[in-house]
Symmetry: C5
Subunit: 190 residues, 5 copies
């Protein structure tokens, strides 16, 4: 028997019993669709293979895709909106890096020190996930979908808009409100 | 089977077994009425839909409404008193934000760094919850009440004064004393 | 079924199963008499009603009363000695506060930042508990005692000297040694 | 039923079920002999009665005695070597302190702030345990030994050299390597 | 019954039940091969006997060997790549230290303060493990292999390249992508 610790969409600490290790990802998907998360974002962000990005099942980490009214593709995780960015491959004498896709947001005053990464100047940001290199893992894909084209080619549009999906049984995600959250420069005055 | 971790009104760490996921909110309400809380206040405060504010069931997060002798509406959570504030909608070129209701308090010297938000000047505050945008969730409402009017219209008075409610079976909330807690500028000398 | 997490008198992390919620305080008393504690001291100290102070059952939070050889009344909690202080009621234009009894000690170099409260000048202190306002809760009283006189009147002497009580079954409290702990200004040189 | 949380000698987080409270110390001894520890060192170090020092059962806190090739008596705990020091009684107008035995080590750059204690000048140290005052507790003694002489008199040699004892069944302590750990001034260059 | 707490390769917090203490290392190996880890890296890094280094079973701590395209031997742990370094024995008047093998990496901006060790100048690094002194423990060796030559003699090549091993049943390690992670000086611009 296994037991997985979640933070629910309401911020409660809940442990769910799981019959066997091979059911674990199913349970993470089931509760992740409600916005429940387990553990912290790893320092520097989750690392996934580049070719998992197009149809990545964000429910695995309690997140979901959302397209803003301005048509921007965002990922919502624990009430924060992360922007998608494509990083080009680097091939200099000093370093070699394959192309990557990164989901990050500007840091807020309430973010703990160790999740903030420094960029040029004073700007600080927080990374949710980076998709770079590696070999595609089918277990990370949205279930019930054909394998999308991979590689550095243009990213296929997501097969469905997650926010239009039927609401899951049980409590609906609280962070639905989060999509209206202001970007960091919009800090609401007290 | 699920298990939910609480901090009791006495500050003890207690885990309660829950038969199934659909009983979870009931258990949170039951123990929340005693002032038990689960997990931390999310950074920046709990986020709920705007239209849940009038009849929000504060027991879900271990809090309760309280009207001070001066007639001010407060919410008590873990011995702290939070004030209700209405934030007007913002519609400038730089940002667009719908109207919101925010429950916050001045920061105290013993508050950890990451919950303090800066306002104008040196003043720091702590947010318990913000109600903004989103779609009303019936599961957040006080049970056994009709649906109140919603929208930016005048907030209906709470249907009952929680502090006048019959005490719950079992231990009574310790933070009943909290309502007499001094505001931050009244820091008791040693 | 419930489960309560303790730090034992030896500093070990132990979880104890509890049959039902109404047995919880009994279990806290039983292990609290051994010096076991559950959870952290709340920021700013435990808050209890003023009228619970005379016969408060300190075992509920793993503490115990102790009278020093100099006749000073102290409370011992996790190896630290807290002094009893009576705070007069405040009734100024700026604030109104009822009389209170506070148990606090000077801060030590190894106390984490967030428990230290600043007083006049450089002096920092740590509060264990404050008894102020509120309504007496019988469940906080020492079992098997008549109700003592309450209010701002002179505090009745404790009905028994806890340190003279028969040792509990099982392991005796380690912090018995704590009563000899030096006050903060006596920091032992290395 | 109780459950005790350990950090194993390999640094893993493991919970062990214990049938009843009176078996708890036995379980702590059993796993402590393997170098498993439960909970953190209390701020300022473990506090034990002075007269428990000669035959203290260090396995209770996952530590063990070790005599260095230079003949120095050390205690090894989680890979760190602590030196034994005798502190004389203090009897000045400012403070009164009975004699004590303290086990401490120099602080390292990776020690968290709250365990470091300041001494004269810039030197910082970390205390594992202090034996001072109090009344001897038989339950802290090594099992199967006669009661040693106590008091400020010369400390009897330990009845057995723990490092010469037969290895416990099951995994042997990893920190056996720790005895070769360099003192703080010997920080290995990168 | 025992229970071991893991962080999975996906960062989730999962507890696995273990029948008895002698099965514990098997369970750590089984899940460690998937990149699951239990507990934190001890401050200063894991300490193992010197003679365990050649055939150390890195799955015990959720890590694995990897040879970079440049032929450098690395160890991958939670998405970070650690370099192998041989430290010569030190035999000066000030200190005596046997030869050691150390696995470390440069510190990143998101590493918490307490894992960073200072080297010459401003450079900071993080140690995963150090193999020094002590007596070889067979339980730390890769199962199913003959005992390799030990001592300061040339290190035998690993008997198999772990990354070429058949993938374990169940989820494949996420950190497979980690091997492409940039060294610290290659911090990806935002």
């Amino acid at each position: 028997m296994l037991h997985i610790e979640f933070i629910t969409d309401l911020g409660a600490r809940v442990i769910v019993d799981v019959d066997s290790a091979d059911k674990l990802l199913d349970v993470q998907r089931q509760y992740g669709r409600l916005g429940w998360t387990s553990g912290e974002i790893p320092s520097g962000g989750y690392q996934f293979p580049h070719d998992n990005e197009p149809d990545f099942d964000w429910s695995l980490i309690g997140a979901r895709r959302w397209t803003s009214p301005d048509g921007e593709e965002l990922v919502i995780h624990r009430g924060h909106a992360y922007r998608r960015r494509e990083l080009e491959a680097v091939d200099s004498r000093k370093m070699k890096l394959p192309a990557a896709v990164k989901y990050s947001r500007g840091a807020k005053s309430t973010d703990p020190e160790q999740v903030r990464e420094k960029s040029d100047g004073e700007f600080e940001y927080v990374t949710l996930a980076i998709f770079r290199g590696g070999k595609r893992q089918e277990r990370y894909a949205q279930p019930g979908q054909g394998r999308p084209a991979t590689g550095p080619a243009p990213r296929p549009a997501p097969a469905r808009a997650p926010q239009a999906a039927a609401p899951p049984a049980g409590p609906a995600p609280a962070q639905r409100t989060a999509v209206l959250e202001a970007p960091p420069e919009d800090e609401t005055p007290f």
